[in-house]
């Protein structure tokens, strides 16, 4: 099973199904690349949300899909990085480079610390502990009012282009910056999951006992996966703070973490492309539906239930034999 899974991930998928997938992927890439040239500011904004959250979903996929560690507190790390940008740029007024590096460092340090707590547990235990930790981070953002501004959050984050002193500004510029970061992160993650390290992660997911007896330090593998995943989540958090211009506790709450979980599960864990598309689909759905109905959560809950009933391994994995 372990070996088969590894072969399946690395080897090209059979042609019949891959043609449809290739078409979808090419269409998505085309929209991402040239979309903003034709689209209105509103749609460019949506595309920006899609690539940032797509990045976040891919980072969770490394943990959930490839390592088999279901984190339900991933939005917490994303949110802490976003808050760090808020505090550093809008309160402390530091320059762009310090702000970005500082925020990333805080996000990565946080995962490095939390990783020590969570890396020795698996499955549902991992789920419950990350859920609790995520809620703790949310609680801090909500209650530590002198630093985080409590329920109001922190506003007044400068636009990224302005803060970085770029000669061009505007939503389209920001979009292409986000897209570039998304592409770099996507390529890095694809390289990681195909590397010997990535294969070892998948081996740990399939059969930890066997990996241990082969001499792998599975604790370290899980820890590394958690920290790497958190690092990419921090990158997404930094962009998200700049995109919105403010940060608030809702970024970290359980609904955010679970929406993220849904993006990955609905898209197809262990595929990277699936979760990114899942993120896109959910952003699109959320924004389109909210113009028609107030009952977004009801709809979201129904999507969860239908996804699990209809495509428990995600849309991108439909038709793949388990």
């Amino acid at each position: 099973m372990g070996v088969l899974e590894i072969v399946r991930v690395v080897a090209p998928v059979p042609p019949a199904r891959s043609r449809v997938k290739l078409a979808i992927a090419v269409a998505a890439a085309a929209v991402l690349l040239i979309g903003p040239v034709f689209l209105s500011t509103y749609w460019t904004g949506l595309l920006t949300q899609m690539v940032i959250l797509g990045m976040l979903a891919m980072s969770l996929d490394l943990l959930l899909g490839y390592t088999g560690l279901p984190s339900l507190g991933h939005a917490g790390i994303f949110g802490v990085a976003a808050y760090a940008v808020g505090v550093l740029s809008a309160v402390r007024h530091v320059d762009f480079v310090t702000c970005v590096i500082g925020a990333l460092a805080i996000g990565i340090l946080l995962t490095a610390l939390l990783g020590l707590v969570v890396s020795h547990v698996r499955d549902v235990y991992f789920l419950m502990i990350t859920l609790a930790l995520g809620m703790v981070l949310w609680g801090i953002s909500y209650r530590w009012i002198p630093v985080t501004g409590g329920d109001n959050g922190i506003s007044g984050i400068p636009r990224l282009e302005v803060h970085a002193g770029l000669p061009v500004a505007g939503p389209v510029t920001f979009y292409y910056i986000a897209l570039a970061v998304f592409a770099v992160c996507g390529v890095l993650l694809a390289l990681i999951v195909a590397s010997p390290f990535g294969l070892a992660l998948q081996g740990t997911r399939e059969n930890e006992g066997r990996m241990k007896s082969l001499g792998f330090n599975t604790w370290l593998l899980c820890y590394a996966s958690y920290v790497i995943s958190g690092s990419f989540a921090s990158v997404a958090g930094v962009l998200w703070a700049y995109y919105n211009g403010f940060v608030s506790p809702t970024y970290l709450d359980l609904t955010s973490s679970s929406e993220l979980f849904l993006m990955v599960t609905m898209g197809g864990p262990g595929t990277l492309v699936g979760p990114a598309l899942g993120a896109g689909a959910l952003v699109l759905l959320k924004n389109v539906m909210s113009t028609y109905t107030q009952r977004w959560l009801l709809l979201l809950g129904t999507i969860y239930i239908l996804t699990i009933l209809g495509a428990p391994r995600g849309l991108w994995n439909l038709g793949k034999r388990g």
Binding site: M128, I129, A132, M135, R143, I305
Partner: protein, 284 residues
Amino acid sequence: MVYLVTQTLNGLFSASLLFLIAAGLTLAFGVMRIVNIAHASFYMLGVYVAYTVMLRTGSLVLGALAAIVCAGAIGFAMERWFLRRFAAQPLAQMMMTMGFALVFRDASLMIWGGDPFTLRYPTWLSRSVELGDVVFPAYRLFVIVVAAIVGVALWLLNERTLIGARLRATVDDPDAAATTGINVALLSGLVFAAGAGLAAFGGVMGGPILGGYPGIDFDLLPLAFVVVIIGGMGSLKGALVGSVVVGMLDNFGKALVPELSYFTLFAPMVLVLAIKPTGLYGRA
């Protein structure tokens, strides 16, 4: 000293509510390995249903009965038609309960609106009890006593009855239990329903103090999870000890360092996990 006693009693009051919620959560996990994200939603449903019934009848007892029956029936249906088909797939089950949690939250917002409210005290409990210098609301004492009775009843059920023996056998090893003729499927449904009913009862008990508002489900959920993580998943005794620990910590944390009260919950959880990953009374 008076302050200490009052805060301890407040802590016990929180612990009582937490125990009512966590008992069902830990049993559902023990028997079915279900991580039920929708569990605190049953608490919320309990408050809302009791509120509606009490508006009509004015009776806390009727309200509590209606809440228990409603949540129990919904829980039973949820387990029977949505969770059982994903037996031994904890992630799929978790996602399913997550979906239900969102549906419950939005549905109750739709039905009951977003205005916060509290349940009315029964008149004979809307006074204070004086013990020396300590003045304490009678209702809170009442909840502590009720939770203690529920705890003893659960313990008796678990240790002294046939159904309890079956339950313990199923927690230990569902497959072996099934081979001895225990109807694990029915037992699972009943445990899930009873857990939902207990949480709803917790909602009614907490209603006059904490009230009901949109979001109370996700406010209580992490507390319940910390209880179960500290106590050990699947253990009733663990749920009791965990509730007291979390109730006290939460209460004293909020009283002493309100800004970082989540830390006071988080630290002991980390400590327990570092020493014993399965919790105080949990088995791997």
